[in-house]
């Protein structure tokens, strides 16, 4: 734990989580002979220690069901953590009441994947963006509100005179810009971007990513960039964390992770993506079987049943993140001691 904190000076971290857990109880199948229904535990986020510095983009990658979205939401307390601690700007926010949390809500915002579902179809975009401003008392009076919303529109590249339109009148990329405008309306310092470009066409993705980069610089934001798309993550992140069934299996500076991934899962993940280049071959490391569901985590290292490099002992002992040097952390028995 101490080693990791040396990576970014203690003063500089924005978000710190300690042993963060988010477990759900899942209704299991009723066995014919039992009177009780079995409940299985879904360990969506399992003992995650994370650090996010100021003005930093941390990419969070993993495949579906790994818990990355849940982690993002738990950090900003849109989901209640089961246990563990969350620190924001040095203050612990894990157990704050909704009322006390309100002050923090201004500073941390979230953008979702599906712009169609994250905008209320019955409201105009002006109403949608001005709502947080009103709730937090950032502006008063109609004129000031309109000016502020127009200002936000300019920042995200939308036309001012479209304020009275409804979400369905915009394209997917434009709706995502509206979501971004809403997220930055309260001048946050931290943004969770949950698969924000996954639903967009490639040429529009680039527009939105450029916008996020510009805003990050202008507004001194830190971004937790959640995505399943490694190619996008590489371009936008300073550091990257890879998740597998609720745990972080590898974390490093972006260049370091992509040029030399240590964890067998990371290696398989990267090899699986076909590169749009006929001179680069495609030799995916094919993993056996499928990702087990988070309610049925294998014992020991959760990746061992599918790992091409598993050995005796991988199935018994669990493994935690270990530093390989230069801020590169891996959770793998191959590199323990």
């Amino acid at each position: 734990m101490n080693e990791r904190e040396n990576v970014l000076e203690l003063d500089e971290y924005l978000i710190r989580t300690s042993n963060l857990k988010k477990y759900y109880a899942e209704e299991g199948r009723l066995s014919f002979f039992s009177l009780k229904s079995t409940k299985s535990l879904v360990r969506a986020v399992d003992q995650v220690d994370l650090l996010i510095g100021r003005n930093e983009v941390l990419g969070l990658v993993g495949e579906s069901g790994c818990g990355k979205s849940t982690l993002g939401r738990t950090i900003i307390r849109l989901e209640e953590p089961t246990s563990g601690r969350i620190f924001f700007l040095g203050r612990e926010i894990t157990h704050l009441s909704q009322h006390d949390l309100k002050a923090f809500r201004k500073k941390m915002q979230i953008i979702f994947q599906d712009p169609a579902s994250s905008l209320n179809p019955r409201k105009t975009v002006f109403e949608i963006i001005s709502q947080p401003l009103k709730v937090h008392g950032k502006v008063s009076g109609k004129k000031a509100t309109v000016e502020r919303v127009a200002d936000l529109f300019d920042k995200v590249g939308l036309e001012r005179n479209h304020m009275e339109r409804y979400p369905h009148q915009f394209s997917g990329g434009q709706r995502q810009r509206v979501c971004i405008a809403r997220a930055i309306a309260l001048d946050p310092v931290f943004l969770v971007a949950d698969e924000v470009v996954s639903a967009l066409d490639v040429s529009i993705q680039a527009q939105i990513l450029n916008l996020l980069m510009v805003l990050k610089e202008e507004l001194h934001l830190s971004i937790l960039f959640i995505s399943h798309d490694l190619s996008v993550v590489r371009q936008i992140s300073d550091r990257v964390a890879v998740m597998y069934i609720g745990k972080i299996v590898e974390m490093a500076r972006s260049e370091s992770l992509f040029s030399s991934p240590y964890h067998p899962y990371t290696q398989a993940l990267m090899s699986a993506i076909p590169v749009p280049d006929v001179d680069v071959g495609w030799r995916p490391i094919i993993l056996q079987g499928e990702t087990p569901s988070p309610s049925q985590r294998p014992k020991g290292c959760s990746f061992h049943p599918r790992c091409p490099k598993a050995f005796d002992g991988c199935d018994r002992e669990d493994v935690s993140l270990n530093e390989m040097g230069e801020g590169h952390f891996v959770a793998c028995h191959l590199y323990q001691g």
């Binding site: 495949e63 490639v202 680039a206 980069m213 990267m270 699986a272 280049d277 006929v278 993993l287």
Partner: protein
Amino acid sequence: MSEPLLCIRDLKVSFRLARGILNAVGGVSLDIEKGQILGLVGESGGGKSMVGLSVLRLVPEGGEIVSGRIVFEGTNLLEISEDEMRSIRGSDISMILQDPLSSLNPAFRIGSQIVDVLRLHKGYEKKEAELIAIELLHNMGIPDPKKSLQKFPHQLSGGMRQRVVIAIAFSCNPKLIIADEPTTALDVTIQAQILRLLNKLSDEYRTSVLFITHDLGIVANLCDRVAVIYAGEIVETAPTRELFKNPMHPYTKALFRSIPRHDRRQEQFYSIEGMMGTPIDWPDRCKFYPRCSEKIGACGHTDFVEVRACAPGHHVRCLKYE
């Protein structure tokens, strides 16, 4: 050079909406040879799915194939009866769609869904068909095939379901498979498994594939030949290697520039200005004109841009090459 297996000429598909007639596909021509995997690449709304559906005459409600020819093994599919078409669907030409959950009937066990197709098109007896189904599932890499026959779609994972869909598609030894974004909804590691499987099967069964996708990475590594579609028209066709080494159409070039790659770092994201829009906005002349960074004088005035060959097997629809 033998006849291509599938020969589409000037396919036009229109939709009749309250606001008028929209041309979703405005004159698409392409060829697929026997045993070839042709990638049809484009962004959503460009018409690529509609082309795939048209081959099977499954254009959705409200749309119709207005003109053109779709010649499959010498027969124009647009001129045969619905009964004849039905005997082709599923046996000579099959389809694999993006969402396996809606391609499979949730109310029936997967075994019966495979068996039904086999009995319908090949006339097998139930027991025979079951044995073939078990063999198919085994070929698809589905563990414990006999037991799996009894499972319902929702009891399988996404990757497994897609394998079942593929099993059904290959069950009658089709000559052509139309795969519309078959791996888009799957995780990347599962996608790798499925693409490898498709490649192996298409080799084994000598099946041609029309692989519809927006993913240029898949195209580079799976397809023999590529056609790029924009706003309902094919703007460029070439053998895969040629297209990636030597893209001609400004849209193709812009597309290549804007895709992020995970194997190298880019300083900036290249985006293409503007949007493709919808069929209402598409003019008769070059549809890429408003977004093109390589316009020449004639582009704004010419009403119809023809397809020209600019290298062997390489065709472009662009005034710069006339």
